[in-house]
């Protein structure tokens, strides 16, 4: 069975640019959450979507936005990139809103 998939694997952007990251959940999972993991730290919650609605938002600026599509895949958008946005962006899916989460391999974003 395919796990959570994320694309792209790596991404290099310059300050001020915009980026879109993509996530496909495990088949049958209806919830997707996004986390940011800065090098040497634990993941930090950004968003959760369940049944295409935002169900939670972490302490991140409005430059960060996300959405979930009818097939439950999701996109994370980050505008006006800053150097500090360089991180591993993780997507996690779960069957329901509060079930255990399974993480994808992440997208490594580097902002120059």
């Amino acid at each position: 069975d395919a796990g959570v998939t994320q694309s792209p694997t790596h991404l290099i952007k310059t300050r001020g640019q915009q980026v879109t990251l993509r996530c496909s959940p495990i088949s049958g999972h209806k919830s997707v959450s996004w986390y940011q993991q800065v090098l040497g730290q634990g993941p930090q919650f950004i968003f959760q979507y369940y049944e295409k609605e935002e169900r939670g938002r972490g302490n991140f600026p409005d430059r960060f936005s996300a959405r979930q599509f009818p097939n439950y895949s999701s996109e994370l958008n980050v505008n006006a990139l800053l150097l500090g946005d360089s991180a591993l962006y993780l997507c996690a899916s779960s069957w329901g809103q509060n079930n255990e989460q399974f993480f994808g391999p992440g997208t490594r974003l580097t902002v120059l």
Binding site: V4, S33, Q44, Y50, E100, F102, G104
Partner: protein, 113 residues
């Protein structure tokens, strides 16, 4: 403010030894405490999880001990193997609302052959 505090930052254990990683929290609304294992270049993988109505949970060589009154929980890895060398994260989640995991800062475990 770090909602879940994890120690030690790094740990070196001989093969066959016991690895112990500790976490503490303050928010009594947390009702789910998972541990994740992460290898370089990979996403975190769920290892074992516990709820506060249980004091201990064991799965194979991995055991979570939970002390609700002290607001502490720990991961014990018995008979540690070189393949266990990874970064371990404890986490916690509030019962109601979003499926928002608060992670500790991680422990890098190295098991020496």
């Amino acid at each position: 403010q770090q909602q879940v505090k994890q120690s030690p930052q790094s740990l070196i254990v001989q093969k066959g030894g016991i690895s112990i990683i500790n976490c503490a929290y303050e928010n009594t609304a947390f009702d789910y405490f998972p541990w994740y294992q992460q290898f370089p270049g990979k996403g975190p993988a769920l290892l074992i999880a516990i709820r506060p109505d249980v004091s201990e949970k064991k799965e194979g060589r991995f055991t979570i001990s939970f002390n609700k009154s002290a607001k502490q929980f720990s991961l014990h890895i018995m008979d540690s193997q070189p393949g266990d060398s990874a970064t371990y994260f404890c986490a916690a989640r509030v019962g109601a609302g979003a499926n928002n995991l608060f992670f500790g800062t991680g422990t890098r475990l190295t098991v020496i052959p």
